[in-house]
C-alpha cells in the first residue's frame, strides 16, 4: 500500500498533497513528512486530502499532532477536503471544530 506525499509551495504556504490510504501502516510516513516540513521552518501547512481514499483515527491523530505543533510556532495546519466519506470522519469526531477545512487549495492558501 502506497502513500503519495507531494509538497508544493504556494503563495507563502506549503501544500502537502496526500494520496492513498492513511492508516496505522502509512500514517508514520505522513507524520515524518510533517515533522520534516516543520523542522524546515514551514509553519503554514495546507494538507490536501482530496486524493485520500481512506483515513482512520490514526491519520486523524497525526493531523491533530501536526496542528498542535504548528500552533506552538504560531503557525497553522489547515485542510482541503470535499469528499463526504472523509469529511464524515472529521464530523463524527468533532474535529471539524478544530480544523479549518476548505474546498480548494486556493481557498486554504488564502484563508
Amino acid at each position: 500500500m502506497e502513500l503519495g506525499l507531494d509538497v508544493e509551495e504556494k503563495n507563502g504556504a506549503t501544500v502537502l498533497a496526500v494520496r492513498g490510504e492513511v492508516d496505522v501502516y502509512t500514517a508514520p510516513r505522513l507524520r515524518e513528512k510533517l515533522v520534516e516540513l516543520v523542522s524546515q521552518g514551514k509553519y503554514k501547512i495546507v494538507v490536501n486530502l482530496e486524493g485520500v481514499d481512506f483515513l482512520d483515527s490514526t491519520g486523524l491523530g497525526v493531523l491533530v499532532g501536526g496542528l498542535k505543533r504548528l500552533r506552538s510556532h504560531d503557525g497553522d495546519l489547515t485542510l482541503v477536503c470535499t469528499q463526504p466519506r472523509i469529511l464524515k470522519v472529521f464530523e463524527i469526531t468533532g474535529l471539524t471544530k478544530v480544523f479549518a477545512i476548505h474546498d480548494t487549495v486556493d481557498d486554504a492558501v488564502a484563508g
Binding site: M1, E21, D23, V24, Y25, F54, D56, S57, T58, L60, G61, V62, V64, G65, L67, K68, R71, P84, R85, K88, V89, I92, T93, G94, L95, K97, V98
Partner: protein, 163 residues
C-alpha cells in the same frame, strides 16, 4: 448455518488494509448494504484491527489477529479477535470537549468512540486470552438483488448443447 469467512493475519500494521479489503468486498457483494454504510464498516474494522494489532507485541509475526465475518440474511457480523492482554472498554479516559484547547493534547483515543458511532451494534469481549470486538451491521432488504444466483454452485458447462 450462515456462511462464515475467516481471515487470519499477522498482528502487523501492514495487514490492516487487507482486513478492510476483505470486509468491504464481502459487504459490497451483499447489495443490501449501501455504499455509505460499507464505508462506515470499513472504518470500524480498521479501528478494531489497529487496536488488536497494538495489543500484541511489536512485529512478532506469530502473533495473530482473526477477522471473522458471518453473512446472515439480515445482517453482516464482523468480529476481530486478538490474543493481547485485554482491557476494560468502560473505563477509558474521557476526552475534553472539542472546543477546549486541551483537546489538542488528545491525539489518540478516537478509535473506540468511532466504532460505537459507526456500527449498528458492538460488543467488546475482553478476557485474559485477548479481546473480541463483535460488530453488527443490519442490511436493508429493500436493496437486495433481484436475481438470486447464490444457489448456482455447480455449473454444467456442457448444457449449451441442449439450448
Amino acid at each position: 448455518m450462515d456462511p462464515v469467512i475467516e481471515l487470519e493475519i499477522p498482528a502487523r500494521a501492514e495487514y490492516v488494509g487487507l482486513a478492510r479489503l476483505v470486509v468491504s468486498s464481502l459487504a459490497s457483494g451483499r447489495r443490501a448494504l449501501p455504499e455509505e454504510r460499507i464505508d462506515d464498516l470499513k472504518l470500524a474494522v480498521s479501528e478494531a484491527c489497529t487496536n488488536a494489532i497494538e495489543a500484541h507485541h511489536e512485529g512478532d509475526v506469530e502473533e495473530r489477529v482473526l477477522v471473522r465475518c458471518a453473512e446472515a440474511e439480515d445482517r453482516l457480523e464482523v468480529s476481530i479477535q486478538d490474543r493481547g492482554k485485554g482491557f476494560d472498554p468502560e473505563t477509558l479516559p474521557e476526552h475534553p470537549p472539542v472546543t477546549d484547547p486541551e483537546r489538542l493534547n488528545f491525539e489518540r483515543g478516537l478509535g473506540i468512540p468511532l466504532i460505537r458511532t459507526l456500527v449498528d451494534e458492538v460488543t467488546f469481549e475482553p478476557s485474559s486470552q485477548g479481546t473480541a470486538v463483535r460488530m453488527v451491521m443490519y442490511c436493508d432488504p429493500a436493496l437486495e438483488l433481484d436475481v438470486d444466483i447464490d444457489h448456482i454452485d455447480h455449473i454444467d458447462l456442457t448444457g449449451l448443447d441442449e439450448a
